[in-house]
Structure formats: C-alpha cells, structure tokens
C-alpha cells in the first residue's frame, strides 16, 4: 500500500516530466523544484494564509502552473532553437536558484505540513492504512485521470499530441507551437507541484527534497518511454511498488537503487520503454 502512495506521486511527477521531455525536448533538471514548490506552497497557504487543507492543495497546483508558465516564457522561449545542452544548462541554473531561494526563504529545517485527517489507521481486513495515505492515493489517481482527459479529449490535448508527433506539420495545421510549449511546461509543473503538495504532509518539506523527486521522475520516464503518458502512469506505480518490495526484501539502504537497476535493465532489453507498443525507433 505504501508502494501505491509512492507510486501515485511518482506517476504524477513522471507524467509531467515525460510531457516536457517528450514535447519540448528539454532535460528538465528543475522538475523536482516544482515538486518542492508545491510542498512549500501548501505549507505556506496552511500556516500563513490560514486556508483549509484542500484549498491549500489547490493553491499549490495553481502556483505550480503559474511558476511553470513564467519560467517557460522568460527562460525557455528566448532559447528556442538552441541545442539541448544549452537549455539544460539554463534548467540547471534554475534548479540551483530555486533550491537556494527556498533555503533562503524557509531555512534548512524540515517543515511538517499539518493535515486534517485522523491519525488512527483504518483497518480493511488484514491491512491497516492511515486515512491520509488513502486520500493521497485517491487524489493522485484522480489527477492522473484528469490529465488523461485533458490530453486525450480536449482540443488542447490534441494540439499537444500533434506537436509531439510532428512539430512542423502541427504548426502548419494552425497549432500555435509557442503557446503549446508554455501550456505544456505549466501543465507538467502543476502536476509536479501537486505531487509535492500530496507527499509533503506524509513526509516533510525541506529545500533539497526535489533532487530525489527529479531522479524518480527521470526513472519513470525511462520506464514508460519518452512522451508516453500511459507508460509514465504505469511506470510510476511499478517503480513505487518495486521500491517498497526492494526495501522490504533486499535492504532498505538500497531502496533508491531499485530505480537505477530498473532503468538499466529496461534499457538493455526494451529501450523504447517497458510499455511501448511495437514501434520503430527513428
């Protein structure tokens, strides 16, 4: 069950990153920082803004989207057409700035985020689960479903998919590539912020929490294949569960190694991702 909690949030992180990575061809090192931003935004809205827990979650998501849109507009759009290393370097800079900005604003001490759920576990037959964790799983799944709907069913989603498949043709068909990039980055960042806001109350919020989140998100992206939404969803769940099993049965010291081992195995045997349909790699 803990595997599901982790897995759901990994899936959120992974979906956001796979969209950005796949569509914008951008190695986004700052992805984890939006996750951190989500956690701190929740904390701030709860303690300083005096909002309720659910309102704080919403604030975190909106803030994530706004910050994402701003970054794309200011940092990435002027560098469109530069090589992937150049944009990556900017994201590394952003990562350093955001992380140290958070350190400056909140200090190095981890913050615990209060939540309204009772701490006594619910027992369902043989398993006990804290209500908070149940909520996190449900919320993560709901958000995943919502992003699915956006991507598969709306005009915007169709434009995004078209851009991913063939940028020039999409542009010729009247898709405004610039706007799609901004929206995609904002969308991905909002999902990362949501993941941070959801996991924040379970763990703690601290400035460097995003580093691990970035690593997991990259792992999920590989598992699922670049730009593959379904792959990222399943990949996140698989990674979360595999980590719990690895930590339980092998050694908790190697918990974070599970993801790396999976990456290497996947790339060895199924380089286009675990869940990719048979397709040619160009």
């Amino acid at each position: 069950m803990n595997g599901l909690v982790l897995g759901g949030t990994y899936a959120l992180l992974g979906i956001g990153l796979t969209l950005i990575f796949g569509l914008m061809n951008l190695v986004n090192f700052a992805h984890g920082e939006f996750y951190t931003l989500g956690a701190y935004a929740t904390f701030a809205a709860l303690t300083l803004g005096g909002l309720g827990f659910f309102a704080a979650l919403a604030v975190a998501i909106v803030l994530g989207a706004a910050a994402g849109a701003l970054c794309e507009r200011v940092l990435l759009r002027p560098l469109r057409g530069e090589s992937i290393d150049t944009t990556m370097l900017v994201m590394i800079g952003l990562w350093i700035v955001m992380q140290n900005g958070e350190l400056l604003a909140w200090g190095g001490v981890a913050k615990s985020i209060p939540h309204p759920f009772p701490t006594a576990p619910l027992t369902l037959g043989p398993v006990g689960i804290a209500p908070l964790r149940l909520f996190v799983v449900a919320a993560a799944l709901a958000l995943i479903a919502a992003s699915w709907l956006v991507i598969q069913r709306t005009r915007l989603g169709r434009a995004m998919r078209a851009t991913f498949q063939d940028r020039e043709t999409a542009a010729l068909m009247g898709v405004r590539i610039d706007r799609i990039h901004t929206v995609t980055f904002a969308f991905g960042s909002a999902l990362a912020a949501a993941a941070g806001a959801l996991l924040g109350p379970i763990f703690l919020a601290y400035p460097s929490m995003g580093d691990l989140a970035s690593a997991k998100a990259f792992c999920v992206v590989i598992l699922g294949g670049l730009g593959n939404l379904a792959g990222a969803t399943l990949g996140g769940l698989v990674l979360g569960i595999a980590e719990e099993l690895g930590a339980g049965y092998v050694s908790s010291g190697y918990r974070d190694a599970v993801g790396f081992v999976i990456i290497i195995l996947v790339l060895l045997f199924r380089p286009s991702g675990l869940f990719a349909r048979a397709e040619r790699i160009g």
Partner: protein, 307 residues
C-alpha cells in the same frame, strides 16, 4: 601575439606557487586543475561526439576509491594506484558505453545518471570495502624519488603536469582520424556510417578514454585531500563539469579549460563577496545570465568576436 599570450600564460602557471602566497589560493588552483581534467574528459564526449554523460562523477569516484583502496589496503605505490584508477574507470566506461550507446541521445544521459547513482549507493552501503558514509581517511600522498609530494606547491606541479598531459591527449585525439570520426558521428550519424565509421565502436572508445581521464582526476583528488568518502559521487560534481564544459565552449579544446578555471574560482570569489546563503543563488543567476548572453559558450564567443 597569440604565441606571446601562450608563453606568458605558461610562465604564469609554472611560477604560480611563488607569487600565490596564500595556501588557500593554491588550494583553489589545485582544484581548478583537477576540474580542468574532468572538464576536458567530459568535453571529449559531450563536445566531440555529442553524447552527454551525466555519470562522470561515477568515473571520478571510481578513480578516487580505486587509487585510495589500493594504496591504503594493499600498500601499492601511488603511481600504480593512479594507473589502476584510470584502468578501472575506463573499464566502467567501456561497460556503460556498450550498454548505453546502443540507444544514445536522451537515453545515454539517463543510463549514465543511473550508473552514477547506483555506484554511489554501493559506496555508501558496502561497509567492509569502503567504510560506508564515514569514508576512508589517511590516503597516502604520492612520492617522487623518495620525496613526499605532500606540500601544496609540490602537488600543484603534479596536477599541472596531469592537466598538460590530459590536454595533449585530447589534442592528439581530436586531430586524429578517430577525432574526425567523433565529429562525423556528432554531425550526421548515418552519413558517417556510410563512409565506414562504426558508430558504436567509436563512441565506446570515446567513452573509455573519457572515463579513464575522469578516473585519473579522481585518483589525484583522493591523494590530494587524503580522504575519500561517498561524496565524491555527488551529482553536483557532474553538474559542475557540465557547466564548465558548456559555459566554456563545448567542442573546443580551450573551452573546458576556461570554464573549469572560471567556475572553480567564481564560487570562491562569491564566498568572499557575500554571506553563504546568497552564494549559490548568485551562482545560479550568473549561470543563467551566461547562457542567455553566450549560449554557445565563452571561447566560441571570443573567437567569433576576434574575427
């Protein structure tokens, strides 16, 4: 003009310990040298073959641990330790190259990240060999003809020699047939293949050379600080190397050198200029500004400006 500048720089570098009185400044110079080797090695892959390795801290760490363990536990001489560091890191590079270069591009990036992450976890968890997070203290300093090179100025010359060696290796390699094959692969893989370049073989070779150089830098680092801990695998080392190469100018020989010196000195200068909370923040902002104004790097921008 150009020759005069080079001669002046050479004299300045050779006499550095005489006019740089403070041991702290000499320390910065030594670290800049070690990072120059790292940046040169990363540039071989990123700049010339176009493959980005984000696992270079892994090769660096393997080199550091190999040399430290061999000299500590088996009492091998430091020189043999350094050679083994190069060999083992090169071997790791070969394995990673074989594994990852089937896929290349974004996937190569991710495999190298995973490799460095995994090897770092091994160094933390394999207590018997590596002493875990506590690290290995008491790594011996190298000796030359019975003299110990433990003073900073002696070590400076050792590092300087290693930098010169690495630069020459890169220079020779880049201007050889193999170096042209690297460029051909970077520019157009199918075209390169059609004129007889074996892509995987060539790229694996580049990875091996690059990893071995990073291994030597790791060994030099271990014998300089005389202490190795899992921190040598920190991702931030890799990030620093990438910053140095891309900001200095990838795919040029002078770029990584300029980048390495600049980005070793910059944090130290910031340390003197402002309170610690602001240092990294300013570092990040400067980095973003640099990319904005010189997206191709410092050295290419300079040579474009001179023309």
């Amino acid at each position: 003009m150009k020759r005069a500048v080079i001669a002046l720089a050479a004299v300045a570098l050779l006499t550095l310990p005489f006019w740089l009185a403070s041991p702290y400044h000499l320390h910065v110079a030594i670290m800049a040298g070690i990072f120059t080797i790292l940046a040169l090695s990363l540039n071989l892959l990123l700049g010339y073959t176009g493959q980005l390795s984000l696992g270079h801290a892994g090769f660096f760490g393997i080199g550091a641990y190999t040399s430290a363990l061999l000299t500590l536990k088996l009492a091998w001489p430091v020189w043999l330790g350094l050679a083994s560091a190069a060999a083992l890191a090169g071997l790791a590079g070969w394995a990673i190259g074989r594994l990852a270069l089937k896929v290349r591009g974004a996937y190569f990036v991710l495999v190298t990240i995973s490799f460095a992450g995994m090897i770092s976890l091994v160094s933390i968890n394999w207590m018997e060999l590596t002493n875990g997070p506590l690290g290995l203290p008491g790594v011996p300093a190298p000796e030359l003809a019975g003299l110990s090179l433990r003073t900073k100025s002696a070590y400076y010359y050792l590092v300087l020699a290693a930098v010169a060696g690495s630069y020459l290796v890169c220079h020779r390699l880049v201007h050889s047939r193999l170096g042209r094959a690297f460029l051909a692969l970077r520019e157009n893989e199918s075209l390169a293949e059609s004129v007889g370049v074996d892509p995987t073989h060539t790229l694996v070779l580049a990875t091996v050379v690059s990893a071995a150089m990073a291994g030597v830098a790791g060994g030099l680092y271990a014998h300089y600080t005389r202490f190795v801990s899992p921190e040598v695998f920190l991702f931030s080392y890799t990030v620093t190397m990438v910053i140095m190469v891309v900001a200095g100018g990838k795919g040029t020989l002078a770029g990584p050198v300029v980048g390495a010196v600049l980005f070793t000195v910059l944090p130290e200068a910031l340390r003197e200029a402002m309170p610690w909370q602001w240092q990294l923040l300013a570092y990040g902002v400067l980095l973003i500004l640099l990319v904005f104004f010189l997206p191709r790097g410092i050295v290419p921008a300079l040579s474009a400006w001179r023309r």
